[in-house]
Amino acid sequence: MSVQSEGAPAHRPTFAALSARDKLAKSAPFLLLPVLALVGLALIGTWPTWLTLTVSGLAMGMMIFVMASGLTLVFGLMDVINFGHGAFISVGAFVGISVLAGLGDWTGAASLALNIGAVLAAVIAAMAVTGALGWGFERVLVRPVYGAHLRQILVTVGGLIVIEQMIHVVWGPDEIFLTRPEMLKGVTLFAGAAIETYRLLAVVVGLVLFVAMRLVLRRTKIGLIVRAGVQNGEMVEALGYQLRLVFVGTFVAGSTLAGLGGVMWGLYQEVITAGMGEEMMILVFVVVIIGGLGSVEGAFIGALLVGLLQNYVAFLAPKLALVSNIGLMTAILMWRPEGMLPVVRAK
């Protein structure tokens, strides 16, 4: 097994230590979160208020992340702008809430296990329906318009409108009010502040999802294929992988996550409407853009920034709350025009 490599130069590279500036630049987006939290603490002044606002902001951010994570992957891997994503959020919420309504005995019981069981059933049903819907959506609407952005926007907005109207047909035109399961209604006292239990649950779910997605993308072969496919799909196929299947799988996964986000958001707001997904899409797009197209980490940080900022500003200067997200997007894009951690370079 001796291979002549007479021409190969000896490689003994030395690695220069990164300068403090380079190190900082790499992790700067991650540092934005604690910086924002500290600035918030300084301006708000009182610990319990700050803690309540922070947990609330993190919870909101986590839910936005759940909705945005699928979209950023679809964006990055398939170069598809899918406005129909909002419809999956709404459908997820309606299916999930319907299941919860059907499990009234479980949600009404003062048992955490039964309550969580009911929410779990709702989530699974919502994800199954939105996953199937996403599969059909990709097949019928998106497949003919790969590579054509303008057509993607037109066709997916059309799909969004049709699905919203279908919700009106099935569930009626009115908004639906709901109450959370018994044990998720109250507050938990923590470090001197009263925090809604449901928000803690949302934070945990978001964190678990983030870690799981990172593991899948970094440690599994599917993740490798997705990351390689973002860069050079042709070569991935030449290595023997069916990129088509990976595309469809990613689209379906993104749709199921939208469904999960829809259920979580519905339970958070305690009211659902057919247009709720469409309304969320503005925040979701802001998060995907400031995070950097295709980046799950970027979307995670972006979503938490949006959530925190919105809650702080709403408390400190309520009138500014409406523009805070657009302001954040402007600031970040002036700093990093391709978003914080771009995976896909602008084409």
Binding site: Q4, S5, A8, H11, L224, V230, E237, Y241
Partner: protein, 240 residues
């Protein structure tokens, strides 16, 4: 002689409005290195891309080990045991060298034996195993690209200009690795502009001109016939 590993019969391929291949007939024998030669723009890369299915042949037939692959999707062709090294190397630059190799071993984990063999042929890949492939030099990227093709047992290698733009020291590393592959009995279809490399590696040669094969024969014959070289390849004197 046994049946060729790859046969092209009257293959025509268009790219957009451009007629690139106009009836390519080519046989790649088993266990030999076939050099695909010719001036720039005569259709060598298009021929390789038509075989792997990146560009579809409009007419004609492509047989791989006796099976018609003309209309087969690219992943299926690759899974039949075809290792492809594209002209642009096709490196996944955001992934590490290790991750590039993991992907290349499509049907299972990269065996330690193969990994060691690759390290022996291309020592820099061992050094930069966990580095991002985007940070490699041009020569190292080319090594990685060939190493990916060697990550599994392949029935045929399609290699497009492995020495393009490389320093002479790296060129001889490439040539040594390809010679090793050849010694193991691999079947290779190799596009190569560097005639000095081509004459040492090739068993057979096929010369393209204007989208078709205009000459085939033993490499030794072409290597010793300066007039033929000059006529077919525009090489002056006895080829570098």
């Amino acid at each position: 002689m046994s049946e060729p590993i790859l046969t092209l019969e009257g293959v025509e391929t268009d790219i957009g409005r451009y007629h690139i291949l106009s009836g390519v007939d080519l046989e790649v024998p088993r266990g030999q290195v076939t050099m695909l030669l010719g001036r720039n723009g005569v259709g060598k890369t298009t021929t390789l891309r038509s075989v792997i299915g990146h560009w579809r042949a409009k007419s004609g037939r492509i047989l791989f080990d006796g099976q018609d692959i003309t209309r087969m999707p690219t992943p299926a062709i690759a899974r039949m045991g075809l290792g492809f090294v594209p002209e642009d190397m096709g490196i996944f630059s955001d992934l590490t060298v290790e991750e590039n190799m993991t992907l290349a071993a499509a049907s299972g984990p990269l065996s330690p034996k193969r990994r060691d063999r690759i390290f022996a042929a291309f020592p820099p890949l061992a050094t930069f195993w966990r580095a991002s492939a985007g940070t490699l030099s041009g020569g190292q990227k080319q090594m990685l690209s060939i190493a990916r093709a060697m990550a599994e047992e392949r029935r045929l290698y399609l290699i497009d200009e492995p020495t393009k733009g490389l320093a002479p020291a790296i060129v001889s590393t490439m040539a040594a690795a390809l010679r090793e592959l050849k010694r193991e009995g691999a079947s290779i279809l190799l596009v190569e502009q560097n005639f000095a490399v081509a004459r040492t590696l090739g068993d057979r040669a096929a010369v393209m001109e204007g989208g078709r094969i205009v000459w085939t024969g033993a490499m030794a014959e072409l290597a010793t016939d300066a007039k033929l070289q000059s006529r077919l390849l525009g090489l002056s004197v006895e080829g570098v």
